[in-house]
């Protein structure tokens, strides 16, 4: 069990800022939060009277809905703002948007933004606690936490678990946050993707990079597939969908090299037939829908742990 009883900071900007004890605390709190979701009344009064603004300046359905559901289950009042139809399309800067929202005195702001570092900027301007819901190619901390929670549920530990992360490594904040978290917790992290999509410096994070999918999957307890972003297809990075699938697509045959009780994860949305075969996505290995359910519990845990506040003086 974690020896900590609180997070040190009042924001969640990235996994990079968290200590292993804080990660354990979030995961343990999420176990209790998951139970709330099994009750006849799936709601507790914990955050009554607190206001959370969900500021999503990049398309997102599952993350936004997951946060909203987590906030509602904790009885917070929630406001949503998406880019389309907002002042952002009229040219407002993030700083001005932040100051405007700040004037409404929210207790927390959940931010999804296409630019790396946007949540950090918001944290400097706002008194509210900031939760990073994905910033550019930088971090997506709650995704890494929910992935870790799902692995804990299935494997009972993170230390020593062999995790292969496969796909577009260069543009993935999911990879980055997961790699940071898993290495901190003592997992054996491997990455594999097309040579054009392997960023330099992955080894400095403690990740071993493999050129061949078969080698990366060898003995893996967890295979995590990343979405291939279509916008990067046909361009400089990838030749064709078929070629990508042949080399990096996850099929049942390929999974035979992994550990017998391997689990397959995907942060969604999936491209069936591009990075993952339907037979795998819907097969017994898949915990993809567990990840979605666990996302709500993990986000409830993060909201709860940040809601106590250290400075905010509520």
């Amino acid at each position: 069990m974690s020896t900590l009883t609180a997070l040190r900071g009042r924001h969640l900007l990235g996994i990079a800022d968290l200590e292993p004890g804080e990660i354990e605390l979030v995961l343990e709190t999420a176990v209790a939060m998951k139970e709330v979701g099994t009750r006849p009344i799936k709601k507790v009064p914990t955050m009554r009277g607190q206001t959370v603004i969900n500021l999503f300046m990049e398309p997102s359905t599952r993350t936004r809905m997951s946060f909203e559901l987590a906030e509602k289950r904790l009885s917070a009042d929630t406001l949503g703002m998406t880019t389309s139809g907002s002042s952002v399309t009229k040219g407002e800067t993030l700083a001005d948007t932040a100051r405007t929202l700040e004037a409404m005195a929210p207790d927390m702001i959940v931010l999804r933004h296409p630019s790396s570092g946007a949540p950090h900027q918001l944290a400097r301007i706002c008194r509210a606690s900031i939760i990073n819901a994905g910033d550019g190619m930088h971090e997506h901390p709650t995704q890494a936490l929910l992935d870790a929670f799902t692995m804990m549920e299935r494997k009972g530990r993170l230390n020593g678990v062999r995790v292969a992360i496969v796909g577009d490594l260069a543009h993935s904040r999911v990879l980055r946050s997961n790699a940071l978290l898993l290495v901190k917790m003592g997992a054996d992290v491997r990455a594999c993707g097309p040579a054009t999509l392997v960023p330099p410096g992955l080894d400095r994070l403690g990740v071993r990079v493999f050129r061949s999918l078969d080698a990366a999957i060898e003995g893996a307890d967890v295979v995590m597939m990343l979405r291939v972003q279509y916008e990067r297809m046909h361009g400089l990075y990838l030749p064709s969908v078929r070629e990508y699938f042949n080399e990096f697509g996850l099929t049942p045959a390929r999974l035979e090299r992994a550990a017998p009780d391997v689990i397959v994860m995907h942060p969604g949305p999936m491209n069936r037939g591009v990075e993952i075969d339907s037979e795998v996505a819907d097969g017994p290995w898949s915990v993809i829908l567990d990840q979605v359910a666990n996302g709500v519990a993990v986000r409830m845990a993060v909201l709860y742990l940040l809601a106590g506040g250290e400075e905010g003086e509520r």
């Binding site: 209790a32 507790v44 009064p45 914990t46 607190q50 809601a307 106590g308 509520r314």
Partner: protein, 176 residues
């Protein structure tokens, strides 16, 4: 400060409470015990054990974590959030007679939170309250149905209940 209850006394109190429960509630088929985390849980388990020994009945037992229902949760400007533990009530509480168990009854605010939490799980027929120690100073209109021992205290004092399951030994001590 003095140890006001030792292991023997705690044991006798909980046995007596089990007898009182059986006396007051004719028929035990609707009974269920729910302990408030942390130390209400071993108390509930022990009362269930006594009920089994006396009347041969198996009373289902659950554990309730009331942290998410506390009324002081978001009021502390400084300080960490309390750690949340799991709530485990593996039976329906609908139409049951719930015996809610805790170690110390003080302001009554924990019990208020527990009542709110319980009612989110269903609609029990009745809720009765079991406590090992009643130390007075209620701030809400709440009273216990079964009390191990009434211990007069001042607000400056604190009452420490230690139970083998959690603390390695059984005793109740008044400190300060």
């Amino acid at each position: 400060m003095p140890v006001v209850m030792d292991a023997e006394r705690i044991h006798r109190s909980l046995t007596r409470i089990a007898h009182e429960i059986l006396e007051r509630n004719r028929g035990t088929d609707q009974l269920a015990l729910v302990g408030i985390r942390a130390r209400g849980v071993p108390i509930a388990t022990r009362v269930a054990g006594h009920l089994k020994a006396i009347a041969g009945v198996d009373v289902p037992t659950g554990a309730l974590d009331i942290t998410l229902y506390r009324d002081d949760l978001m009021r502390h400007a400084v300080g960490p959030q309390p750690v949340i533990r799991r709530t485990e009530i593996p039976f329906s509480i609908d139409d049951r007679l719930i015996l809610l168990a805790d170690d110390v009854l003080y302001t009554g605010r924990t019990i208020r939170a527990a009542l709110d939490a319980l009612i989110d799980f269903g609609r029990p027929k009745e809720i009765q309250l079991v406590v090992l120690v009643d130390r007075g100073h209620r701030e809400l209109p709440i009273r216990a149905d079964y009390v191990g021992r009434n211990i007069p205290t001042s607000r400056q004092q604190s009452v420490q209940v230690r139970l083998v399951e959690i603390d390695g030994r059984d005793e109740v001590e008044v400190e300060g």
